[in-house]
């Protein structure tokens, strides 16, 4: 089921206390020590260019990129002065509160209640990242992020708040830029861990609003709709991707990547996910899985616009421990067939950037065909379809005060194994009575950025439909009480701190 459900990026983290973990902690402490000695107590790229966050991030609204920020990424993170220790750190924490936090389960005669989110209404640390990022050589640069999540897993042996450390983003690039009065060509190649991590527009799901969600059960609702396509789910964020791209005359962009299982020398691209961890099993892809990205961009005055298309074909193996309707992790079942995802999408982004105003808007439509050839795999039907619509508009004043409104809508084929009560991996509050994935969420937020390193956000996620229903979407046949879509509405007040 987890293949179908949104696997939020924040859930990719986890933690065994191994050498790398200890080294990371040590490096983080070192970084914090160094940060206090520099006049630019901002992340690695800003130290490299010597510029403020707003140079690359629209209205300081990271991770949204300005045209200059996109150029910085497309040219391989190489602009500026190479840093001796190109490290940064990031922390996210806050308080998530769901309107109806009481979950129920029933054996047919007795209804048992328990809190969906054990930390509901309490301030908690969510995740912390360490970045190794910056210019390596004139044409070679790196963006890598490893994340520890305090509550990345909520169901390992029933233990809540279990931490996890793992890879989040990785993009090693070679890039070159030919600039002249009549032509402009950027081309490059990338080794990366996720289809879309290479993208420079925030209509791509990898970098789209609301950017973050809390960890584990805390994030069950705050991140929005519970069902996502392959490209939206972040399920590929532990694969080995080899890609190349061109950007011609600041108008035409084309990228092609091939994704494979992160094994052997590239297994670090799935760091934190392995065959022995039932909560964070490594994803295994069959052969080479293509991903493409096309875009047209233009600018006039303080406005810029992108219209684009994206697509991916991914064939993912199931797991040996898989039972009907539930993927519970473990070693891959390499002889049991694959679940094939075919994603095709179109998207657009508009920006108006002129001090003190920043307006950004993104829309996206993704269509997915899922063919489940696995035995007892995540879907009951052989073929399922998903349609996902996303939109968001935001305004920032003086890179300090911001407000945004996001919209997510997903519809798809009803499937009891994937979305219904036949999926034993789902709770009464997450399974659909009519086996439908159809969900709609509105996500307004306001934020305040007193200094460029700190952003305080108040975000509300409101559901007008959840797993196929509005007033009683869940299964009540065994005596569970009705649950409304709006019962899942969640407020998240959080701080995002980066150094």
């Amino acid at each position: 089921m987890s293949d179908f459900m949104a696997i939020k990026k924040s859930e990719l983290a986890s933690g065994h206390r191994n050498i790398l973990h200890l080294a990371t902690v040590a490096l983080t402490l070192l970084l914090l020590t160094l940060a206090t000695k520099t006049s630019y107590a901002i992340p690695a790229f800003a130290r490299q260019t010597g510029q403020n966050c707003v140079a690359c991030h629209a209205g300081g609204q990271y991770p949204e990129l300005t045209p200059y920020g996109r150029y910085f990424k497309l040219t391989g993170y190489t602009q500026g002065e190479r840093q001796l220790i190109p490290l940064s750190a990031m922390f996210v924490g806050g308080m998530a509160s769901t309107r109806n936090n009481v979950g129920t389960s029933s054996d047919g005669s007795t209804v048992t209640t328990s809190n969906i989110n054990q930390q509901n209404g309490r301030f908690e640390a969510d995740n912390a990242s360490v970045f190794l990022a910056g210019k390596i050589l004139d044409n070679l640069g790196l963006f890598s992020q490893f994340t520890y999540g305090w509550a990345a897993s909520s169901n390992n042996g029933g233990v809540n708040n279990q931490g996890h450390f793992g890879i989040d983003n990785f993009d090693l690039r070679y890039a070159d830029h030919y600039a002249g009065p009549t032509h402009d060509l950027i081309w490059g190649a990338s080794l990366n861990n996720n289809p879309g991590v290479t993208d420079v527009w925030n209509s791509h799901p990898t970098w789209a609003y609301p950017y973050m969600s809390p960890q584990g059960a805390r994030g069950a609702f705050a991140g929005g709709v519970p069902v996502a396509t392959y490209l939206e789910s972040g399920a590929g964020a532990q694969t080995a991707g080899y890609g190349a791209y061109v950007y011609l005359n600041k108008n035409f962009y084309a990228e092609l990547d091939a994704y494979q299982s992160a094994t052997g020398a590239t297994s670090f691209l799935a760091y934190g996910n392995n065959n022995s961890n039932p909560n964070f099993p490594k994803a295994y892809l069959k052969g080479t899985n293509p991903y493409f990205r096309l875009a047209y961009t233009t600018e006039w005055g303080a406005h810029n616009l992108m219209v684009g298309a994206m697509g991916m074909n991914a064939a993912q193996y199931g797991y040996n421990s898989e039972s009907a309707g539930m993927v519970s992790g473990g070693p891959p079942n390499l002889s049991g067939g694959t679940t094939n995802y075919q994603d095709r999408g179109i998207d657009a982004q508009y920006q108006y950037l002129l001090n003190p105003h920043t307006v950004t808007a993104q829309v996206r439509y993704l269509k997915e065909n899922i063919t489940d050839n696995t035995i007892g795999g995540p879907a009951g039907n052989l073929v399922n379809k998903l349609n996902s619509v996303f939109g968001k508009v935001s305004y920032v004043y003086n890179a300090t005060y911001g407000a945004g409104l996001g919209y997510q809508n997903v519809t798809g084929t009803a499937d009891s194994n994937a979305y219904g009560v036949a999926n034993t991996g789902l709770s009464n509050w997450s399974a659909s009575a009519n086996n439908s994935p159809n969900s709609t969420a509105w996500i307004p937020s306001i934020w305040y950025q007193p200094i460029q390193n700190i952003r305080l956000t108040l975000q509300y996620t409101a559901f007008t439909k959840y797993m196929g229903g509005t007033s009683c979407y869940n299964d009540t046949t065994q005596g569970n009480p009705c649950r409304k879509a709006s019962d899942n509405n969640t407020t998240w007040l959080y701080a995002w701190i980066a150094y």
């Binding site: 050589l137 080899y242 950037l353």
Partner: protein, 220 residues
């Protein structure tokens, strides 16, 4: 753990190292390498915001095409020394100018100074144009504001340390006038006194007039 090398990864890694194994001075974006030519930095770094030919598209960034080279040298050096500290300049320019050598700065300035300044195609308000031209040509003598033309030239082309203003983005001119008027972030010029009496409408009028150059022909 048995280490199994992936041939694709090895290929990419080897190619990367071969391709990137040495400096790429012709197309470097390294702002801290004194061996990179100023023109290269102009094309690889400055052009991202100011345009390859210095005619920036976004009014967020000033046009540099046809700008007076002495003025450009002064400004980049002022960013480098932090003598110029207006907020946008600090955010965008301090870091970029930090390690530039005098020679690189001069080359960058000469490159942009040699680019032809392109006229803007903007809608103009005749009343505003006339007001702007009057301020530019004659100043506001009752307020003590001298005519701009005295330093910036009859065609707004500037001279030496006095910048070219013709075809500059109006939004940029207005914001710089506000910096001069409200702050001491751009010291060392007479503009603090010059801009002191200007109202917002007067700033806008003269900025629109300058952005619309060569509108002058139409007015005469």
């Amino acid at each position: 753990m048995k280490l199994k090398l992936n041939p694709y990864f090895c290929g990419l890694a080897i190619c990367s190292l071969l391709l990137a194994g040495c400096e790429n001075l012709d197309r470097s974006r390294d702002t801290a390498n004194p061996n990179v030519a100023g023109k290269t930095l102009a094309l690889q770094v400055c052009a991202t915001c100011h345009g390859v030919d210095g005619n920036s598209v976004s009014p967020f960034f000033p046009k540099l095409a046809g700008q007076q080279p002495d003025y450009l040298v002064d400004q980049i050096k002022n960013f480098r020394s932090h003598q110029r500290s207006d907020a946008v300049g600090v955010q965008h320019m301090w870091g970029l100018a930090k390690n530039l050598t005098d020679a690189q700065i001069k080359e960058i300035a000469n490159y942009y100074a040699s680019q032809p300044s392109e006229p803007n195609h903007v809608k103009t308000n005749p009343v505003e144009m006339a007001q702007g031209k009057a301020i530019y040509d004659k100043g506001l003598l009752d307020k003590g504001t001298p005519p701009c033309i005295a330093c910036h030239g009859p065609n707004g082309q500037g001279m030496g340390a006095f910048p070219r203003l013709a075809n500059q983005h109006a939004d940029y001119i207005i914001k710089q006038l506000q910096v001069f008027q409200d702050t001491d972030d751009r010291p060392g010029t007479p503009m603090k006194q010059v801009s002191h009496p200007l109202t917002s409408d007067e700033m806008k009028a003269v900025a629109m007039y300058l952005e619309s150059f060569p509108i002058e022909a139409k007015l005469n």
